[in-house]
């Protein structure tokens, strides 16, 4: 029985053979799933839920991020489906989600896409699709406010100039919340920015409070050094953000198999060229955090160093955590894209910061 109109025959045959576009909501310990999905040619990890047909929830999503997860769920256009890996959908508050074991993940995704195209499946929205703050039609022009003021749809504040205007002529400041499931950002990180044009004028970086992950999440349990996965997934995500899709797949594939120091050296040769990855990262995101100054290039070189050391069987010191207030201060004045890339370049440290259990009550 079809729940939506099926896609007509010929189109469905072609579409059914396309890679499944997935948006991955990454929780704690979700990196191996992310690498597995990026490495597989039957799947395409996309940049926004709008481009996806399936939402994949990878790893543990704490209680505090459920609302955001449900909003992300609703942003995938119907007909849509959600796949959770190794747990039941109820554990992330999406009871209709398809639960798939990690070993059969990609086969499961292909089957779900097939059902979607055949019209056999469509997940309902979780949240209501109405505005909690009535504003439309209010005011002399229906703009929701007085004079030239607009309303506050979804409680979002109007863009307003900051108090101190340079020469009395200030660009409006647009308040914006990014995360915790924005593609490429470190998992479970919420970034509140105030933008003037595309320049970050105000910023706060806040991890979603962690809760105790219940038992086995089914996303780990491999005896390979996880530092290799952490660093290589961070690199693959960075590559995807700066438009090097092919290299991102190559790195992700490396992260899913056994890694030798030679593999890492080969990767370094491909990336560490003036017109390679470095065009996006040299001199960008120069941060001075707890004594370790450097640009994004310095940070991804350090990932490769750590991955090589771990692959060689050496002991690698744990990733330090970060002073988030100091980080936020360093992001001020950056172009929005540069700020987001800077955060992506701190993925291992920020993942460590967000994974810390909340302060015991």
């Amino acid at each position: 029985m079809a729940v939506t109109r099926p896609v007509p025959g010929r189109l469905a045959r072609w579409a059914g053979a396309a890679p499944v576009p997935v948006h991955v909501a990454v929780g704690h310990g979700g990196d191996p799933v992310l690498a597995q999905l990026r490495a597989d040619r039957r799947v395409e990890v996309v940049a926004t839920p709008r481009h996806a047909t399936v939402l994949v929830v990878a790893g543990h999503v704490p209680e505090a991020a459920r609302t955001a997860l449900h909003a992300t769920h609703d942003q995938v256009r119907a007909p849509r489906a959600t796949v959770v890996v190794g747990v039941e959908g109820t554990m992330v508050g999406i009871p209709h989600a398809v639960s798939v074991p990690r070993t059969g993940l990609v086969d499961g995704l292909v089957a779900v896409q097939h059902d979607l195209l055949a019209g056999d499946r469509d997940d309902p929205s979780i949240g209501p699709d109405d505005n909690p703050v009535a504003w439309q039609g209010v005011g002399p022009h229906g703009q929701g406010g007085e004079g030239m003021m607009g309303g506050v749809p979804w409680g979002r504040p109007m863009a307003m100039p900051p108090v101190e205007g340079r020469d009395g002529l200030a660009l409006d400041r647009l308040a914006l919340r990014l995360g915790p499931f924005l593609a490429g950002l470190p998992p479970l990180l919420v970034v509140d920015v105030g933008l003037q044009g595309d320049v970050v004028e105000e910023v706060a970086v806040e991890p979603v409070p962690a809760d105790e992950p219940p038992g086995s999440m089914g996303t780990d349990g491999e005896d390979r050094p996880s530092v290799v996965i952490t660093e290589l997934v961070a690199l693959a995500e960075l590559l995807a953000l700066v438009g090097l899709a092919g290299m991102a797949v190559r790195v992700a594939r490396l992260a899913t198999g056994p890694v030798t120091p030679g593999d890492v050296a080969g990767l370094r040769r491909r990336l560490d060229r003036p017109l390679g990855l470095r065009t996006a990262t040299d001199g960008v995101g120069r941060l001075d955090l707890s004594g370790r100054a450097g640009d994004i290039t310095a940070r991804w070189r350090a990932w490769l160093d750590r991955a090589a050391a771990a692959a060689a069987g050496d002991r690698v010191p744990p990733t330090g955590t970060l002073d988030l207030d100091a980080l936020a201060h360093e992001l001020l004045g950056m172009e929005l894209g540069a700020a987001l890339l800077s955060l992506a370049s701190l993925r291992p440290q920020l993942a460590a910061a967000t994974a810390l259990p909340a302060v015991a009550a």
Binding site: H141, G142, Q143, G144, G145, E146, G147, M148, M149, G150, G151, R156, M158, A159, M160, P161, V163, E164, G165, R166, D167, G168, L169, A170, L171, D172, L174, L176, Q196, G197, G333
Partner: protein
């Protein structure tokens, strides 16, 4: 045959130019108003091409495209919610504007219809036009070139001076917004004059009214 098509095309472009010009004032968004104006200019450019002023027409596409985009960017960046799509009124002093508009249209229309325009092709018997062309493109060329380079240098200089990372250090250090009433420092933006709370005052005072209004007027 060709003449008929040119007449039809002229009519279409002229009506479209006027219609888009009208849209500028009835739309409720700054960006829509700006690009309606652009569409109007594009139609005028097409009319110039029809009049065989090919370069002038195409150059109009070029220049108006850049100008209107820059104007739209300034308008959205100075007042966005989030992309400036919440409705707003795009006109100031509408009654005066209507009166002036009707009078000037009547004036130009009267000139166009009543004046006895010359329809004979100009033959340039004494070579005035040719001499003018030689003057502009010949001995005066150097002056033109110098003027052009000076204009470019001025634009680049303005960008350098206004950049936050100016060559004389951060450009915004020590800059103070001017007072709204000259000499009265209490009217300086950012100075809390007391009474109701500072933030609230800013939200409704100059944020919503003053500069938003000015931006709209430029359209």
């Amino acid at each position: 045959m060709t003449g008929t098509w040119v007449d039809i095309a002229f009519g279409v472009f002229a009506v479209a130019a006027a219609w888009f010009g009208w849209r500028v004032f009835v739309t409720d968004s700054m960006v829509r108003a700006t690009f309606s104006l652009l569409a109007s200019f594009l139609n005028v450019g097409a009319i110039l091409v029809l009049l065989l002023a090919e370069y002038l027409g195409v150059a109009m596409f070029f220049m108006m495209g850049v100008e209107m985009t820059v104007m739209a960017i300034y308008m959205v960046a100075f007042m966005m919610n989030p992309a400036g799509l919440n409705p707003m009124q795009m006109v100031h002093q509408p009654r005066v504007a209507v009166v002036v508009g009707v009078l000037s249209t009547a004036g130009f229309g009267a000139v166009a219809l009543a004046a006895d325009l010359d329809t004979v092709a100009i033959v340039d018997p004494d070579g005035t036009i040719r001499a003018l062309g030689h003057e502009l493109m010949g001995s005066s060329m150097l002056v033109m070139q110098v003027v052009g380079v000076t204009l470019v240098a001025t634009m680049v200089g303005a960008v350098v001076l206004s950049a936050a990372s100016g060559r004389f250090g951060p450009a915004d250090v020590g800059s103070v917004p001017p007072a709204i009433v000259p000499g009265d420092d209490t009217t300086r933006p950012g100075v809390d004059v007391g009474g109701d709370g500072g933030g609230h005052d800013h939200d409704h005072g100059h944020g919503g009214g003053a500069h938003g209004h000015d931006d709209g007027g430029d359209a």
